[in-house]
Amino acid sequence: MARFKRSGKKETPELNTGSMSDIIFMFLFFFMVITTIREGEAKVKFTPPTATEYQKLDKKNSYTIYMGEPLIEGSAMLDNSVSIQFNDKLAPETTDEGLERSVDEFVKSSREASKSKDQDPDKITYYLKIDNKTRMTAVNQLKLAMRKRNALKIQYATNKDVKKGK
């Protein structure tokens, strides 16, 4: 039966690479989505405590303060070796007055940034990312400085409690 006879040499078909670009683009988008989330880098080690009764942060009008063990050696430290990070730099002084100055600077810059984004500077949320091993003295010191500068609306960063869920 000649019709079914195989031709002796058969070329293997070329692999179509047309979809390769699609896949690459897909990965690109995927990574773009992931990486744009993080703004600013933490210069302190920090693991947030867990909680179940959290609320979502309003990202449009919030500014972050970090507190934890500094990653760079030789940084100024508060009680129990924690540093506070405002914007991109660690607070240079740890006395009450020095801290107040840093808070003052931070509050001013945040209010300006908020105004330029058409947000209400009186409704800024200060997002406190504080390491869970921090002693309360340091936390209270920061809170007092913030109260003196009238930065009153705060949100303590927490992770979802995986054990209890919600």
């Binding site: 179509n16 909680a51 009764e53 979502k56």
Partner: protein
């Protein structure tokens, strides 16, 4: 006759990649920032004079000690005993375990009873009949209870947040109950709704069940 083998059909690969893309988009948890909201009190220089006299029945004292043991004033339930809560039981055993009341996760039950005071007991906070105007809520008996939270200097932030979490949980449970009773929806549904009417209702419930936690740092 040698025929060229047909090319592999690739039209479906685009569909597959789209499926993958949507799969990633839906499953990847874009790490959203979240946390516990609090309003700090205004700063005033003459702090001592701000002390408002509050009836003792309206205060629930909660202390976090240097050893991360949470002590709750049990005078309202027991005879002048402090109830102790901790996540690490060995801390209690080394001190005095007679008043050990459970894990920190149980504090919300106490706060709940404190704010609710369903039988109007004389040693729990009294209530004030108030007219709540938001959303035409009407009259409601608003509790006068205040939780006073004290933290010793060497308490850790972790324990502090756990206590805050428990207090929030008590308040959220109470608000949820009221919301279901009044509007037939849970409070979290109301909060997430964009409807103006629901937003008013949220305000009304918040006014009916206020979150009153006063903090002071002590040694």
């Amino acid at each position: 006759m040698a025929r060229k083998p047909p090319a592999i059909n690739t039209s479906s690969s685009a569909d597959i990649s789209f499926l993958l893309l949507t799969f990633f988009l839906l499953t990847s948890n874009i790490s959203s920032d979240q946390g516990i909201m609090r309003q700090l009190p205004k700063y005033s220089k003459d702090m001592q004079q701000v002390d408002v006299e509050i009836n003792t029945r309206n205060i629930l004292n909660v202390k976090v000690t240097n050893k991360n043991i949470v002590m709750v004033d049990g005078a309202k339930w027991l005879n002048d005993e402090w109830l102790m809560f901790t996540d690490n039981k060995s801390d209690v055993n080394s001190t005095n375990s007679a008043n050990y009341a459970g894990e920190i996760g149980k504090i919300h039950e106490i706060a709940y009873e404190f704010f609710k005071n369903r039988y109007n007991e004389p040693n729990l906070p009294d209530k004030k009949l108030t007219n709540i105007e938001e959303a035409g809520f009407g009259m409601y008996e608003v509790t006068n209870g205040v939780i006073s939270l004290q933290c010793q200097n060497y308490a850790t932030y972790d324990t502090y947040i756990k206590v805050h979490n428990e207090l929030s949980r008590a308040i959220n449970d109470l608000r949820d109950e009221l919301s279901r009773e009044k509007y037939g929806k849970s409070f979290s549904v109301l909060e997430e709704s964009n409807d103006k009417k629901d937003q008013e209702r949220v305000k009304a419930i918040k006014a009916a069940i206020p979150m009153r936690v006063s903090e002071s740092s002590s040694n």
